[in-house]
C-alpha cells in the first residue's frame, strides 16, 4: 500500500515537503526541483483509468484517476513547480520551500482526485500551504492579508464541503462526474466553492488582495496553482453550464477594468488573472469539445506566461525594492533582459501571433464562433484590448520606459531568477510556433488550425490600434498612489467595527471587571488580616492613642481562648 501511494504525483511532492527540512541547507534548492521532476516523470507514464483505490469508512476513494484532462493539468502544474523552483533557487527559507512543495502537491492531488473527498482534502491543503507564502513576506500588511486569504478560503472550502455533503445526501455519486445543469442546492454550493477558487466576482477579492503581498517567489506558485486547479475542477464538473458563458465575460471585463486602474505591478497582473480566467470560464460554459480544449489550452498557456510576468515583476521588486508604478520608471537601460523577457510574456497574454496566448485564445473564439455567441466574442475582444493595454503597455511603459528624475538603486538579480524567466519565455515561444505540441495533449482530438489569415488580420488590427490609442491617452491611466476598493470592502471595512464590538469592547469590559475583582480581593484580604481593626477602631483617650488591636500577650491569649470556646460551642450545636 505504501509503495502504491508513492505512485501518486501529489504524494511525492508532499513527501518532498516533509523531507526537505531534514536535508542540509545547501542541497535543499536542488532537492526542491527534484521532487516535481520525479512527479512529472511518473505522471507522464501513467496509463488512463482509476489506478488506486482506498477504503475509507463505507466509501471507496479514488486517489489516482487519470485521463487526458487530468494529465495535461498535472504536466503543467509539475512543470511550473520546476520553473518556480529554479526561480526560488537562492531562497534559504525552509518554511517557504516546504509550503510551496506541499501547495503544488495539493494542486496535483486535486488534479488526479477521482472522488469528492480526496478532492476536498487536497483543496484544503492548497489553501493552508499557500497562506504561508503570503505570511513569509513578514510585513504587517502581509500578515493581515494572509489571514484574510486563509479565512476566505476556509469559507470557500466550507461552501464546497456543504455542497458535497448535500450532493451525497441526495444520492449523488461520490465520484467526480459532470454535473447536469440543474440548480439544486447541492450543485449551487459546489459551484460557489469552486467559483471562489476560480476567482469569479464577487468571490474574487482574495486574489488581488493577497498576491501582490505574497513573497516574490511565492507569488509565482500562487498565480499558477490555485485558480487553475479550480478551472480544472470546473471543466470536470460544470461543462456546458450556460450561465458560465456570461459569468466568464463579466469576469474578463471586470478584471480588465481593475487592472487598468491598479498601481502596484503585481496587482495589475493579479487582476489580469481574473480577466484571463474569464475566457476559460466562458469556454467551459459553451461546453463543446473545441471549447473545453480551448479552456484547457488557455489554462496551460496562461500558467506559463502569467508566471513569467510574475517572475519579471518579482525581479523588478527584488532589484528596486519598489512595486508601485508611481515609484518606478527609467529601468529600460538597466534591466534590458528582464524587460525583454517580460515583453515576451506580455505579448503572449495579449494574444500576439506566434506566442502561446494566440494559439489558445483563437481556439476559444473559434468555439464561440461555432456556438454563434457574437456579443460574447466582441466583449472578450474588449478584454483582450484591455489586457494589451494594462499588461502589455501600461505596466512596462511606466516601469521601464517612463523617464525618472532620480535614479533607483538596484540590487543585482540572481542568475537563477533569470534562467527561470528564460525557461518560461522559451515555452511561450515554443508553443506559439509549434501549437501541435500542445494540441496533441489536449483532452479531445482536434484539428484546429490557429494560423489562419483571418486570425492574423483580427489580432494585428486590434493590437496596432490599441497601441495607438494607448500612446496618445496614456496620461489618462492611473499611476497615482491609490488603492482600489473591491468586494473585499465588505469584509475589510466593517472589520474595524466588528473588531470594536467583538474584540475591543469585551476586552475592555473584562479588563475593568478584572480590576474591580482585584480591588475587592485586595480590600477583603487586607481586612481579613486583622478584622479587629474595623470592629474596634483605635481611639484617643486622655491625650494618648489607645490601639484597639494592641492587646498584651496575656489578654490576646484570653481572647483567643474565648473565641475558641465559641467555635467549639458552635460546632457542638451544629453537629
Amino acid at each position: 500500500m505504501i509503495v502504491e501511494l508513492i505512485s501518486i504525483p501529489a504524494i511525492i511532492l508532499i513527501l518532498g515537503a516533509l523531507v526537505l527540512p531534514l536535508l542540509p541547507e545547501r542541497v535543499r534548492s536542488a532537492a526542491f526541483i527534484t521532487f516535481p521532476l520525479i512527479a512529472l516523470g511518473i505522471l507522464w507514464n501513467l496509463p488512463d483509468g482509476d489506478l488506486l483505490q482506498v477504503s475509507f469508512a463505507s466509501y471507496e476513494l479514488q486517489l489516482l484517476s487519470v485521463d487526458g484532462l487530468s494529465r495535461i493539468f498535472g504536466i503543467i502544474f509539475s512543470l511550473i513547480t520546476i520553473i518556480g523552483g529554479i526561480y526560488a533557487f537562492h531562497i534559504k527559507d525552509i518554511g517557504q520551500q516546504s509550503s510551496a512543495l506541499a501547495y503544488a502537491g495539493g494542486a496535483l492531488g486535486v488534479t488526479f482526485a477521482g472522488d469528492y473527498f480526496t478532492l476536498f482534502i487536497f483543496w484544503e491543503l492548497m489553501a493552508a500551504a499557500s497562506s504561508y507564502l503570503i505570511w513569509a513576506r513578514r510585513t504587517n500588511e502581509s500578515d493581515k492579508a494572509g489571514m484574510r486569504y486563509l479565512l476566505v478560503h476556509i469559507l470557500g472550502g466550507g461552501l464546497l464541503f456543504t455542497g458535497i455533503l448535500l450532493h451525497l445526501n441526495a444520492g449523488g455519486s461520490l465520484y467526480l462526474e459532470q454535473l447536469m445543469p440543474d440548480y439544486t442546492l447541492a450543485n449551487i454550493f459546489i459551484l460557489l466553492g469552486v467559483a471562489l477558487n476560480t476567482a469569479v466576482p464577487p468571490l474574487h477579492a482574495w486574489l488581488a488582495d493577497a498576491y501582490p503581498k505574497a513573497t516574490i517567489t511565492g507569488a509565482v506558485f500562487m498565480c499558477a496553482l490555485t485558480t487553475k486547479s479550480a478551472v480544472y475542477v470546473m471543466i470536470r464538473l460544470f461543462p456546458g453550464w450556460e450561465v458560465l458563458i456570461w459569468v466568464g465575460v463579466i469576469m474578463a471585463i471586470y478584471g480588465t477594468i481593475y487592472a487598468l486602474l491598479a498601481n502596484d505591478i503585481r496587482e495589475i497582473l493579479a487582476y489580469s488573472i481574473i480577466s484571463q480566467i474569464g475566457y476559460m470560464v466562458t469556454a467551459i460554459g459553451i461546453g463543446s469539445e473545441l471549447a473545453l480544449n480551448g479552456a484547457t489550452a488557455h489554462a496551460f498557456n496562461h500558467i506559463i506566461y502569467k508566471s513569467l510576468l510574475f517572475m519579471a515583476a518579482g525581479a523588478v521588486i527584488y532589484s528596486t525594492g519598489k512595486s508601485k508604478l508611481s515609484e518606478l520608471g527609467g529601468l529600460s537601460k538597466k534591466m534590458p533582459l528582464v524587460l525583454g523577457l517580460y515583453l515576451v510574456g506580455a505579448l503572449s497574454i495579449s494574444g500576439a501571433p506566434f506566442l502561446n496566448g494566440f494559439i489558445s485564445k483563437t481556439m476559444i473564439s473559434g468555439a464561440m464562433g461555432d456556438a454563434h455567441l457574437e456579443w460574447p466574442i466582441l466583449l472578450l475582444l474588449i478584454a483582450t484590448i484591455g489586457t494589451f493595454i494594462h499588461s502589455g503597455l501600461k505596466l512596462p511603459y511606466f516601469t521601464w520606459f517612463r523617464e525618472r528624475t532620480e535614479d533607483l538603486e538596484l540590487k543585482a538579480i540572481p542568475v537563477n531568477m533569470k534562467v527561470a524567466m528564460g525557461v518560461g519565455a522559451f515555452f511561450c515561444i515554443l508553443f506559439g510556433v509549434a501549437p501541435q505540441l500542445l494540441y496533441t495533449q489536449l483532452p479531445y482530438p482536434t484539428d484546429f488550425q490557429p494560423f489562419s489569415v483571418y486570425n492574423f488580420v483580427e489580432m494585428t488590427q486590434i493590437l496596432v490600434l490599441a497601441f495607438v490609442a494607448f500612446w496618445f491617452l496614456k496620461d489618462h491611466l492611473n499611476t497615482s498612489s491609490t488603492i482600489s476598493s473591491d468586494t473585499d470592502w465588505f469584509y475589510r471595512k466593517p472589520a474595524t467595527i466588528v473588531e470594536k464590538i467583538f474584540v475591543t469592547f469585551p476586552n475592555n469590559l473584562f479588563g475593568k471587571a478584572e480590576q474591580v475583582v482585584y480591588a475587592i480581593a485586595g480590600g477583603v484580604s487586607s481586612v481579613s488580616k486583622n478584622p479587629l481593626k474595623i470592629l474596634l477602631p483605635s481611639f484617643v483617650a486622655e491625650g494618648r492613642e489607645v490601639k484597639s488591636d494592641g492587646f498584651s500577650a496575656s489578654i490576646g491569649a484570653a481572647l483567643s481562648f474565648i473565641l475558641f470556646g465559641f467555635i467549639v460551642a458552635l460546632l457542638v450545636i451544629l453537629l
Partner: protein
C-alpha cells in the same frame, strides 16, 4: 517612440487591411465581417472606451487613498 516604430506599426496595419480586402473579401462568419476594417475600429474604440471608462469608474468609487483601510 522613434519614427521607424511608427513605420512598422503602419506597415503591419496596411498589410492586414490589404489582406482583409483581398484574401478575406468574401469571408462571412459574423455580422461584422461586412464592416470594413472592423477590427481596427473595434480595437481603437475599445481602447478609448476602456481608458476613459475605467478612469471615470475609478473616480466615482473604485480608487481611494492607500491608508483607506487603516483609518
Amino acid at each position: 517612440m522613434k519614427n521607424w516604430h511608427w513605420i512598422i506599426l503602419g506597415l503591419l496595419l496596411i498589410v492586414s487591411l490589404v489582406l482583409e480586402f483581398t484574401y478575406l473579401a468574401d469571408y462571412d462568419s459574423h455580422w461584422w465581417n461586412s464592416v470594413p476594417a472592423f477590427y481596427a475600429l473595434w480595437g481603437g474604440l475599445g481602447a478609448i472606451v476602456l481608458i476613459f471608462g475605467s478612469k471615470i469608474l475609478g473616480k466615482i468609487f473604485i480608487l481611494s487613498n492607500e491608508d483607506y483601510y487603516d483609518r
